[in-house]
C-alpha cells in the first residue's frame, strides 16, 4: 500500500511506470507472453497469434480514431495494402519475408497518408464516408487488378524461412508476431509522451485551439494517418506471411467494423484499451462457440441456429458494453487497479 507518489526528479515524474506495482505488472505481462507458448497447445497458440496481429492492428487504428479523433472505416483496406504488398514482394519479386514486412509497412503508410488528405476538409461522419470510400477503392483495385494481385484468386506466398528453418509454424511465428507487437506497444506509448502524441490529442479535443497553438492540422493529421497505417500495414503483412495465403475476403469492411469494435470496447485513446479490445474481440467468438457446443444436448437442432445465435450474441455483448461501460475495458481495469492500490484500507 502506498500513501502517495513523490518524485524528486523530472525524469522520474515523466517516467512511464511510476510505482513498484506498475513495474511488477509489466514484468508479469512480459513473462506471461514469454512463457505462454511453452505451455499452450496448437489451438491456443493459433489464437495467441491472431490476438498478437489484432493487437498491432488495433493500436494502429486507435492511434487514428481514439487519439487523433479521425474516425476511419478504411482499416480493412489498409490491411489489404500491407498484406498484398508483403505477399507480392515475396511471391513475385523474391524479396525475403523479413525485408518485405517493413516495405509493406511503408507502402501502407504512403497509401494511408494519401487517403488522409480529405481529413483536412472533412470531419466526423463525413470523414467516415470518405474512409469507407478508401476501403472500397482499395478492395476494388485488389479484386480487379488481375495482372498484379491475381484478382479474386488467392495469392500464395512462399513459406518464410530463416537460416533454412521454416518460420510460419504457430510456435515459431509466435515470436515474430509478439516481438513486433511488443515493439508496436513500446513505440506508440513513447509517442504519446512527446509533442507529436500531444499534438494528435490536441487535434481531437479542440482542433481550432490546436491550430492557434502552432500545431499544423494538415501536417499532423497526415502524420497520424501515415503512422496509423504503418502499423495496420504491419498487421496485414504478418497475416500474409503467417497464413501463406492472401485473399481479399479477409479485408472487407467487416474487418474495419470489427477493429472499430475492438477499440471502442477496449477503450478509445488508450494503448492498453486497444490490447484489451483485441484480446476480447478475438476470444469472444471462441467462447460463444464453446457455450453453443455445451448447449448441444439441451437444445435440439442447435447446429442450425448456432451461427446466427453467435452473431446475435456478439452484437448483444457489444451493446451491453456501450451502455454499461462506455469507456471500455480499460476503465474497468483502472478501477480494479485503484481498488487494490489502497487495499485493504480503501477509505
Amino acid at each position: 500500500m502506498e500513501s502517495g507518489i513523490f518524485h524528486t526528479t523530472y525524469r522520474a515524474d515523466m517516467a512511464l511506470r511510476q510505482t513498484p506495482a506498475e513495474k511488477v505488472r509489466v514484468v508479469l505481462a512480459v513473462l506471461l507472453v514469454l512463457c505462454f507458448p511453452f505451455f499452450a497447445d496448437r489451438f491456443y497458440l493459433t489464437l495467441a497469434n491472431q490476438i498478437g496481429i489484432a493487437v498491432i492492428g488495433a493500436i494502429g487504428l486507435n492511434l487514428l480514431v481514439g487519439y487523433t479523433g479521425q474516425i476511419s472505416l478504411g482499416q480493412g483496406g489498409f490491411m489489404a495494402v500491407g498484406a498484398y504488398t508483403a505477399g507480392l514482394l515475396t511471391a513475385q519479386l523474391g524479396v525475403p519475408w523479413y525485408g518485405s514486412i517493413p516495405l509493406a509497412c511503408l507502402a501502407t503508410a504512403v497509401v494511408g497518408g494519401f487517403f488522409g488528405i480529405p481529413s483536412l476538409r472533412l470531419k466526423g461522419l463525413y470523414l467516415v464516408i470518405a474512409t469507407l470510400a478508401a476501403q472500397e477503392i482499395i478492395l476494388w483495385i485488389v479484386t480487379h487488378w488481375d495482372a498484379v494481385t491475381g484478382g479474386v484468386d488467392a495469392l500464395v506466398v512462399p513459406d518464410p524461412t530463416l537460416f533454412g528453418i521454416q518460420m510460419n509454424t504457430d510456435f515459431r511465428f509466435y515470436w515474430v508476431i509478439w516481438g513486433l507487437a511488443g515493439l508496436t506497444i513500446l513505440v506508440t506509448v513513447n509517442l504519446f509522451r512527446t509533442h507529436i502524441g500531444r499534438a494528435w490529442i490536441a487535434i481531437r479535443d479542440q482542433d481550432i485551439a490546436a491550430e492557434v497553438m502552432g500545431i499544423g492540422l494538415f501536417r499532423y493529421k497526415l502524420l497520424a494517418f501515415a503512422t496509423s497505417s504503418f502499423f495496420v500495414g504491419l498487421a496485414g503483412a504478418l497475416i500474409a506471411h503467417y497464413r501463406n495465403i492472401v485473399t481479399w475476403e479477409r479485408f472487407t469492411v467487416d474487418v474495419s467494423v470489427t477493429y472499430l469494435a475492438m477499440i471502442i470496447i477496449g477503450g478509445l485513446g488508450s494503448v492498453a484499451g486497444a490490447i484489451f479490445g483485441a484480446v476480447f474481440i478475438t476470444l469472444l467468438p471462441v467462447f460463444l462457440n464453446d457455450a453453443g457446443q455445451a448447449l448441444r444436448g439441451v437444445i435440439p437442432n442447435i447446429d442450425t441456429i448456432l451461427p446466427f445465435a453467435e452473431q446475435a450474441a456478439f452484437g448483444i455483448v457489444i451493446i451491453l458494453f456501450l451502455v454499461l461501460e462506455p469507456r471500455g475495458l480499460r476503465r474497468i481495469w483502472d478501477r480494479i487497479k485503484d481498488y487494490f492500490r489502497l487495499w485493504p484500507f480503501s477509505y
Binding site: 509533442h195 500531444r198 500545431i215
Partner: protein, 273 residues
C-alpha cells in the same frame, strides 16, 4: 520583489515602446453583415492594450483576424518579431509560430489532458525532435521533454496551479481552467498575447487574481498584451491604452483617462441623453 525565474517567457526582441503590430484599414464582412469596417490600430511592445465595445462590436472578430482564424477582405496586418511579417493571409499555425498566442472567450482547453500536458502542448512549437526519436523516446526527444517539463513548472508557479497540475482540466473549476488557458498560451513563449475576456464569468476575487497574473506576465516578462474585457473597473486599472469599437468601427483610442472623457464612447455606451 522579483521572482527568481530562470526562463524568460517573452520571445520578442523589440525594445519597449517599439511598434509590434500594425493593423491597416481592416475590413471583414460575412455576407451582408459588416463585422469590421476600416479598423486601424497600432500596438507597441510591452503595453497592455484593451479593446472594449458593446456586444457585437467586432472585438473577437478583430482578434480572430490577428490570429488568422478569419481572413479579412480588406486591409493588412503587419507583425514585427525578428523582421516584419505580413500575417494577413497566413494560416493560424504559422502566425502562432511567429510568436502570437491567444486564449479564447469560451475555454478551449484540451479537456482530456492533464494541466501539465496542456501546458506542454503549448510548447509544441519549440519541440523539434523527429518522429523516430519520439518513437524511441531517446536522445533529443527525451532531453527536450525533460527540459520543457522543467520550463512549464515555472508557469505552474507563476499561475499558482501547483496543486492541480496532474488533474484533468475538465475536472477543474472554471476559474482554474481560465488560468490554465493563460498558462498554455504563455508556454508558447509568445511575443504578443491576445486574451479574449480572460475574466468573463468570474467573481471579484478570481478577477483580482487574474488581473495580478496579467500584470505579472506584462511587467516581469515584458509580454505585450491585447485584451478584450467587459469589466470597466479592471480595464481602467490595468491597461495602458484602450481602443473602443462600435458596430465594427474604431470610435476612440487613448489612455484610460482620455477614454473616460470621450464623448463618442459615452454616446456608444449610454446612448443619447
Amino acid at each position: 520583489m522579483r521572482r527568481g525565474f530562470t526562463h524568460q517567457l517573452n520571445s520578442s526582441a523589440l525594445d519597449p515602446g517599439q511598434r509590434q503590430l500594425r493593423i491597416e484599414g481592416l475590413g471583414l464582412h460575412f455576407g451582408e453583415l459588416v463585422a469590421l469596417d476600416d479598423v486601424s490600430l497600432e500596438i507597441r511592445q510591452g503595453e497592455i492594450m484593451a479593446i472594449i465595445g458593446p456586444n457585437g462590436a467586432g472585438k473577437t472578430s478583430l482578434l480572430n483576424c490577428i490570429s488568422g482564424l478569419y481572413r479579412p477582405q480588406k486591409g493588412r496586418i503587419l507583425f514585427t518579431n525578428r523582421g516584419e511579417h505580413d500575417t494577413t493571409r497566413l494560416s493560424p499555425d504559422r502566425i502562432a509560430r511567429l510568436g502570437i498566442a491567444r486564449s479564447f472567450q469560451n475555454i478551449e482547453l484540451f479537456r482530456h489532458m492533464s494541466v501539465l500536458d496542456n501546458l506542454l502542448s503549448g510548447c509544441s512549437i519549440h519541440m523539434k525532435a523527429g518522429l523516430l526519436s519520439c518513437m524511441l523516446y531517446w536522445g533529443k526527444a527525451e532531453r527536450e521533454q525533460l527540459a520543457f517539463r522543467r520550463f512549464v513548472e515555472d508557469i505552474v508557479d507563476l499561475l499558482e496551479i501547483a496543486a492541480v497540475r496532474k488533474q484533468t482540466v475538465e475536472s477543474l473549476a472554471y476559474g482554474l481552467q481560465k488560468r490554465v488557458e493563460l498558462g498554455r498560451a504563455l508556454a508558447m513563449k509568445p511575443a504578443l498575447l491576445l486574451l479574449d475576456e480572460p475574466m468573463a464569468g468570474m467573481n471579484s476575487e478570481e478577477k483580482e487574481d487574474m488581473a495580478r497574473f496579467i500584470l505579472d506576465v506584462n511587467e516581469e516578462h515584458g509580454i505585450t498584451i491585447v485584451l478584450i474585457e467587459h469589466d470597466m473597473g479592471v480595464i481602467m486599472d490595468i491597461s495602458d491604452r484602450i481602443a473602443v469599437l462600435n458596430f465594427g468601427s474604431k470610435i476612440a483610442e487613448g489612455s484610460p483617462d482620455e477614454i473616460r472623457a470621450d464623448q463618442a464612447v459615452i454616446h456608444a455606451y449610454l446612448g443619447d441623453e
